[in-house]
Subunit: 357 residues, 2 copies
Amino acid sequence: ARRYKIAVIPGDGIGPETIGASLEILQALQETLGSFQIEYTHLDWSSDRYFAQGKYLPDDWMTVLKPHDAIFFGAVGHPKVPDHISLWELLLPIRQRFQQYANLRPTRIMRGVDSPLKNISPESLDWMLVRENTEGEYAGQGGRTHIGQPWEVGTELAIFTRQGIERIFRFAYQIAESRSKKHLTFVTKSNAQRSGMVLWDEVAWQIAAEFPHVKTEKMLVDAMTVRMVHKPESLDTIVATNLHADILSDLAAAIAGSIGIAPASSIDPTRQYPSTFESVHGSAPDIAGRGIANPIATMWAGVEMLRWLGEEVAADAWMKAIEDVCAEGVLTPDLGGKEDTRGVTDAIRAKVIKNAK
Amino acid sequence: ARRYKIAVIPGDGIGPETIGASLEILQALQETLGSFQIEYTHLDWSSDRYFAQGKYLPDDWMTVLKPHDAIFFGAVGHPKVPDHISLWELLLPIRQRFQQYANLRPTRIMRGVDSPLKNISPESLDWMLVRENTEGEYAGQGGRTHIGQPWEVGTELAIFTRQGIERIFRFAYQIAESRSKKHLTFVTKSNAQRSGMVLWDEVAWQIAAEFPHVKTEKMLVDAMTVRMVHKPESLDTIVATNLHADILSDLAAAIAGSIGIAPASSIDPTRQYPSTFESVHGSAPDIAGRGIANPIATMWAGVEMLRWLGEEVAADAWMKAIEDVCAEGVLTPDLGGKEDTRGVTDAIRAKVIKNAK
Ligand SMILES: CC(C)[C@H](C(=O)O)[C@@H](O)C(=O)O
Ligand SMILES: CC(C)[C@H](C(=O)O)[C@@H](O)C(=O)O
């Protein structure tokens, strides 16, 4: 059997619940298929560790994570810690230091999940959002001067490198080329932001020329929200900056019915470093510990992790189980259902075993 | 009769058409009511002027505009000029140098205009979006180094000042206080952007304390898109940075049915400088000159201009005429109707005269 090493970081809030549910499915797949075996490293990197030891990450976190084939991540965020602390001490360093430069956010309308849009059918929406994940508005280099004075100035510095833009566009074009529509829309705000964003546009058109079979379109980020709401069927592969894609991917999840099912893969396409598989939703402290968290986003991330590892059979079995269970209306309250995490997980596990046999 | 001086800048594309239509209504209002008189300064500041004379604005543009009570603006943008040139040479200098720090974007669902959302009624959506309009991500201070080299770096520097944040929040709270829900949601991305955006949050809560009768809520910009789509009725006054509000206001217009009806007022609340009244949509070169542009966004901006001047009776008559004409289905093709600009304008003028009598 093929062997994989996976680092598991359940994190905060509902993270441990949705990760726990997903590990049960992975266990069932492993036992039923017998074709692969996963060795887990369980890591307690979370706000609780921060309260106890003053740090989210140990100093040698890169060394600890490096030997793994993937990182399976729950959620981070605690009401008692400012978000910019918890995120910059746990999630964002991993994305950035491990050069996970492509954040993939597939968006589809699952049968059984209700879109808030009129005139939309599951067939009419199938997007792959490719988010630049290491630079841009998340460079982290802003500052504050004259703190507390009436003349205080605070800045946020977005940094775009030609290298960073080229690699995300090449990756996005490869995805666009592999999909049937061969259509890529890149997002920008170069009418108002006339330096880094203009570089983004220039590099976009340059890489576009390398992929003549893909139809390329440019959209301004503001107009893109209108397009997503009014003409969802006209979009396919979408590539955007770190912040723009952060915003658009939440909108995408909302249009597809719920942020509770949206997965995200933070990928290093060179495979020099492990990639992270996580949900788009946060730690949801308000419902944590109540057993009602929707496990589907994390499970879908688990599916993407299996695909990344090359375990397509297992991935297909899991994804089909998720789709069938949604279609049958076995849903948590956030999707208008009456099931809890346990109920949804059991239903998916039963189908996974059937699908995998 | 009260007298006003208004500078008219039709600009590019459909701008001259929608401004022309609006001036007809202003003329009708003036004649019917007899209570005010407008003296216009017609300015040809546009891409055509740029082609002919190399400049959008004359050197003394501030002196030319300053004595006016308001600026009535069409649109700017030409296929042959990069947008960052046309905008930074015409629209953005006016917003910034005239300290028009509040950009107001009222959003409502007009009867007769179809929202793309299920489960929404005209009553359930009534937002006032308050956009910071002079700083933040539109500070314009980015740059490019090593242009054209593989190691090129491009930046965009967002600059937030305590002064700039305080004034937009005070203004937004005054609006929130004047509305029946007394509810303000401020938008931020301080989990990922940990300097300027954290200052934004700090100042927000400080000004919130000055307005104890207004309920204050903080939303992250990504989650805000979900809220707007899933719970539109839970929002009232919204305040956001220059870029965030740019994005959210297009989404708002899309949710309300069409970007073709959304107005924007770029206000200097101190009245030291004239304020600008414009539409949210652009110059739409694809339909320019065909007589089918939807004049309603510019007309609604005209209504807001009249309110700013204190001409409430005229403003109400015009707004009611717009609402009635929409409700009767006299609409341009972008709203699914069969009328052209002329037809909609005539219908509105007829009602305006009736309403004003
Ligand atoms: C938690 C937060 C820092 C993160 C982001 O903004 O990237 C999240 O919103 C996401 O989309 O993964
Ligand atoms: C034209 C463009 C520069 C402008 C902006 O981004 O502010 C427009 O989108 C708007 O919303 O008024």
